[in-house]
């Protein structure tokens, strides 16, 4: 290892140090001392990590640690996205976690450690590092999902998520093992080289099995149908600030991994994975939207909506590498902005204890609190995909990519689905806009917006508007990323000498 390698993982290093620092302070503080200020430490750490990621743009594109970790515009794009989400989620938690909680320190540390895993996941080009990164991010998320121990749903969500999640990770690991067996390496570029000669590659059945297993593992993480069943239950049981995080950041990381796997590792097997992803995209959109139509619980509805959005994003993968990666990256950013925003509003409105979980409970929100009601409607309008919001250009680029890749029907099914989706988003939006019923005995308290939450909401609104009105900058960044994530780039990372294909055991 040379010292320059550390710069390749600078954001991860910063986040790790922040997390360790938080744990140390947490342990050394007296028990009665409020832990809220630790959240600010975490937020500062996330901000510094964003700057560090942007600084990494000045590094030459390449790998460190013996070809296991890569720095490129692609990884920077996702680093900034993930750290941005984490920052907003931290700000959100600062004001909404109960004051008397003794576990606040753990909460912030876990969020930051989770961010380390997610960031590493996007920059790893060695499948074992990928696996480790995925585990770091997943384990933090499992714990966070069960953070509300006093309710029945919290532990239920955590256990469900943990069991199904480990199962899916096992699939991924099995896939890694098979590809190692088939090609003798776990380095992404080397695998791509070994597969360059498809279909005249030895052990093709093993490789195909490996592709399928890895896709199952990753699609579980992005909650695409038919691997989505955990999503509604986990979202319902986990605290809303956690859902704001886990519905966006780990998914963005998993999508980055998916892009790397299909476009960088298996580009030659396009004829195999492309139809598979087509089916998964259509299933996700349709199942997600149809199920969301029938939900009464806001968080369950948004859970199904996130499944549908995974489908819209996967539609972009029907396109060629440069179009597909750019569109998918842009969609991940647009989706993150509006989804974090809407979960932030839901968190503030229904509170940490979620006294108001149902759509009907949101009735008259705009009369009670014009700001929150207006923001709720704003984010819903963006999720519907109305122009001048990020949701529009997200869908626009994704479906355009699908069309340019020849998947006309996928685009048409996607457009029909977004018409269907409008129905349930509008149901919530218009319920929130409706005049409240006659004042009841105990009117719902008017939600309070603190400074940290206000900053979080401001970030989300600004990001959604920027992506909808001037998408150029973000799109350029995602395109630069797409150019660095092309199959078989420079030979420096993958000398063909290492191509020692071993027979399967």
């Amino acid at each position: 290892m040379n010292p320059g390698d550390l710069l390749r993982i600078l954001p991860e290093v910063i986040l790790t140090l922040t997390g360790v620092l938080i744990m140390l302070i947490d342990a050394s503080l007296p028990a009665a001392f409020p832990r809220r200020s630790l959240g600010w430490v975490a937020a500062v750490g996330a901000t510094v990590a964003i700057w560090a990621s942007l600084w990494q743009l000045s590094l030459p594109v390449g790998t460190g640690f013996y070809g296991t970790v890569e720095t490129s515009p692609f990884t920077v794009f996702f680093h900034v996205l993930i750290c941005g989400i984490v920052l907003v989620a931290l700000l959100l938690a600062l004001d909404t976690l109960p004051e008397d909680s003794h576990h606040q320190g753990e909460y912030y540390a876990l969020v930051v450690f989770g961010a380390v895993g997610m960031c590493l996941l996007t920059s790893a080009v060695e499948l074992l590092v990928v696996f480790i990164a995925l585990e770091i991010s997943s384990i933090s998320t499992y714990v966070l999902a069960g953070y509300r121990k006093h309710t029945g749903r919290g532990p239920e969500a955590a256990i469900k998520y943990f069991l199904l999640g480990s199962f899916a990770t096992a699939f991924l690991l099995y896939g890694i093992a098979l590809i190692f067996g088939a090609t003798g390496t776990t380095q992404v570029y080397e695998i791509a080289h070994a597969l360059a000669a498809v279909p005249n590659v030895p052990n093709l059945p093993l490789i195909l099995a490996s592709l399928a297993l890895m896709l199952v593992g990753i699609l579980f993480k992005v909650s695409a149908a038919p691997f989505h069943v955990w999503t509604p239950d986990v979202y319902e049981g986990a605290p809303s600030p956690v859902v704001a995080l886990m519905s966006t950041a780990p998914k963005a990381a998993a999508f980055a991994l998916l892009l790397r796997v299909v476009y960088e590792m298996f580009p030659t097997l396009r004829s195999i994975w492309s139809p598979m992803l087509w089916v998964v995209a259509v299933l996700s959109m349709t199942v997600g939207n149809l199920a969301a139509l029938r939900q009464q619980n806001v968080k369950r509805m948004l859970a199904y909506s996130s499944i549908a959005h995974a489908g819209y994003l996967l539609a972009a993968l029907a396109a060629s590498a440069s179009d597909g990666i750019a569109a998918a990256s842009f969609y991940a950013a647009a989706y993150a902005a509006m989804n974090v925003g809407i979960f932030a509003v839901v968190t503030v409105v229904s509170g940490y204890d979620e006294k108001l979980p149902l759509i009907q409970d949101f009735r008259g929100l705009i009369y009670r609190s014009p700001l929150l009601g207006g923001l709720l409607i704003f984010f819903l309008v963006s999720l519907v995909g109305i122009p001048f919001t990020g949701g529009f250009f997200g869908k626009f680029y994704s479906f355009s990519a699908a069309v340019s890749g020849g998947a006309i029907w996928l685009a048409i099914i996607g457009l029909l689905n977004s018409g269907l989706a409008a129905a349930y988003y509008l149901h919530l939006a218009f319920t929130a806009a409706q005049r409240p019923t006659e004042p009841s005995a105990n009117p719902p308290r008017s939600p309070q917006v603190g400074i940290a939450v206000a900053a979080a909401l401001l970030f989300a609104v600004a990001a959604t508007l920027v992506l909808g009105i001037i998408p150029g900058a973000v799109l350029n960044a995602s395109q630069r990323g797409a150019h660095t994530l092309q199959p078989l780039p420079t030979a420096q990372t993958a000398p063909p000498v290492t191509l020692t294909v071993q027979p399967a055991p």
């Binding site: 519907v384 340019s404 409706q434 005049r435 799109l475």
Partner: protein
């Protein structure tokens, strides 16, 4: 000034909306302040729009007050605005109806005024944007945006079940705009541009393959026909009129869809429009009679107004799809007339509902003696709506019907004229039921409260305008005839994939071609 005037017009209402939001943040108890800000903003906007007819160069082909700024690189969407004879008066009309809408809401909107006026002004921006956009994606953006404030306001202030009517309205317009978007993208894939004039040229010269154009044109037409609405697609209209706040209902139907038909269907796909015109003519005539017959039997005056509007809007559709120049003149002029008269009637109905708290026609009767000003203005508006000579509607209806008679088919023209007779029947019968005859219990039970100053200050100028537009139509028609001529010569027409940067900067050459 001529370059930036349209941008100023577009931004003025938005600035008012931001101002209201700021006031809301600073002052906790603001009473009618948002309404005053909105009124002032709308008057300023109206003043700005008057710049357009004052400086419009007659006889000059093409778009005027044009402004073109590249906005998004990929795909090459530009902020390209401009008006011609078709859109000029519509822009003025939108700005004129804004103060009318605010006056109509002055006393009827008492909760969350700031939100109401904020969304009202955003709606203004969206509608103005639809009329001045010369870039198809920009147009599409404003077209979709115009749905949102409208739907939210219907949900917020609905009389009985706001969310239901709002959802109906939103989905009715939102779902057809999905094929519209696909069609726009298809055109882009074939031509590499979203610019209206370039597309018009590309289609006219046959650069675009003709066979799929039929479906593309149909997608455009379908989206616009729902918004007008044309006969079988009018399902949302009555519920929306019934539930929407008066200021919103008076702008929801008609002009957006009709303008889009003229500009982006007939204007962009002339030969496809010629093929489908006979069907549209038939539907329009059916709509005229169907709307008129249903208006005769309505018990609620909002639903009455919805079907009356359906009948009158169908007449304009007939003028458009007669595909004669006279018919188009008449159609555009009639859009102005219809919106003006409709707005007056909306204000009057709104005033009645505010004072007597019901929209059931049967509850009224014999009001003329108690509120004479209301009755007088109502009679003037009704006569204008019927198409009495010397009032504005007469000119428009005459142009449309005579052009249909000579240019399309005598049979359809005669059948459509039946609608005019029916229109006289339902309007006059309504006047009789509301204002004359024995005084109803309701009319006697309330203290007589005639129109307030604000309502009079809007309605009398409207009445005078109806008379002037009936006496001197050439003031308007001269400008209206100054529509865009034949397609302009091509600029860059290239094909490129989505998401890849075109080889040359988009929109860079647009300005020269205009000069």
């Amino acid at each position: 000034m001529n370059d930036s005037i349209l941008t100023l017009i577009l931004l003025a209402p938005l600035a008012g909306a931001v101002l209201i939001a700021l006031v809301l943040a600073i002052l906790p108890n603001r009473g009618k302040l948002p309404a005053w800000i909105a009124l002032l903003t709308s008057l300023v906007t109206f003043g700005l729009t008057l710049h357009l007819p004052a400086h419009f160069a007659h006889g000059q082909p093409g778009f005027q007050f044009e402004f073109n700024l590249p906005w998004i690189d990929i795909p090459p969407i530009s902020y390209h605005v401009g008006v011609d004879g078709l859109s000029l008066w519509l822009v003025v009309l939108v700005a004129l109806l804004a103060p009318a809408g605010i006056v109509a809401s002055w006393n009827s909107i008492n909760e969350r005024r700031e939100l109401f006026y904020l969304l009202f002004l955003v709606q203004q921006t969206a509608m103005l944007g639809v009329f001045i956009s010369l870039d198809l994606m920009l147009f599409y953006g404003f077209w979709e945006l115009s749905l949102v404030p409208m739907a939210i306001l219907i949900a917020m202030y609905g009389r009985k079940d706001g969310p239901k009517a709002a959802t109906k309205f939103f989905l009715f317009t939102f779902i057809p705009s999905a094929p519209l978007l696909v069609a726009i993208l298809w055109l882009y894939a074939k031509t590499g541009t979203f610019n209206f004039a370039d597309l018009q040229y590309a289609i006219a010269t046959g650069i675009v393959p003709a066979a799929p154009l039929f479906w593309v044109a149909l997608a455009f037409l379908f989206a616009f026909a729902v918004k007008v609405p044309v006969f079988p697609l009018h399902g949302w209209l009555a519920d929306t009129f019934n539930e929407a706040p008066v200021a919103m209902a008076m702008v929801v139907a008609g002009k957006l869809g009709l303008y889009a038909m003229l500009r982006f269907h007939v204007g962009l796909f002339p030969s496809q429009a010629r093929h489908i015109a006979p069907i549209l003519v038939a539907l329009a005539v059916i709509g005229i009679l169907y709307g008129a017959c249903l208006a005769l039997v309505q018990r609620d005056f909002w639903r009455f107004l919805a079907f009356a509007a359906l009948s009158h809007l169908s007449l304009i559709v007939l003028g458009i799809y007669g595909l004669t120049f006279t018919g188009w003149d008449g159609a555009i002029y009639q859009i102005l007339n219809h919106e003006l008269i409709d707005a007056a009637l909306f204000i009057l109905f709104g005033a009645l509902e505010l004072r007597y708290l019901t929209s059931q026609i049967a509850a009224y009767g014999g009001l003329a003696a108690r509120i004479p000003q209301t009755a007088t203005l109502f009679v003037i508006a009704s006569l204008a709506m019927i198409g009495l000579p010397m009032l504005n509607s007469f000119i428009g209806e005459f142009l449309i019907l005579s052009s249909t008679f000579t240019g399309v088919s005598r049979g359809w023209a005669i059948t459509a004229t039946l609608g005019v007779i029916l229109s006289a029947a339902y309007m006059l019968w309504l006047v009789q039921r509301l204002f004359y005859g024995p005084q109803s219990q309701l009319a006697a039970s309330k203290p007589p409260a005639d129109l307030r100053f604000g309502e009079l200050a809007i309605l009398w100028p409207f009445a005078v305008l109806m008379l002037v537009m009936g006496l001197a139509p050439s003031l308007w028609i001269n400008t209206i005839e100054n529509r865009t001529g034949p397609p302009a010569p091509p600029r860059q027409v290239q094909c490129c994939s989505f998401l890849t940067i075109p080889s040359q900067g988009p929109g860079s050459t647009t300005k020269e071609a205009q000069q």
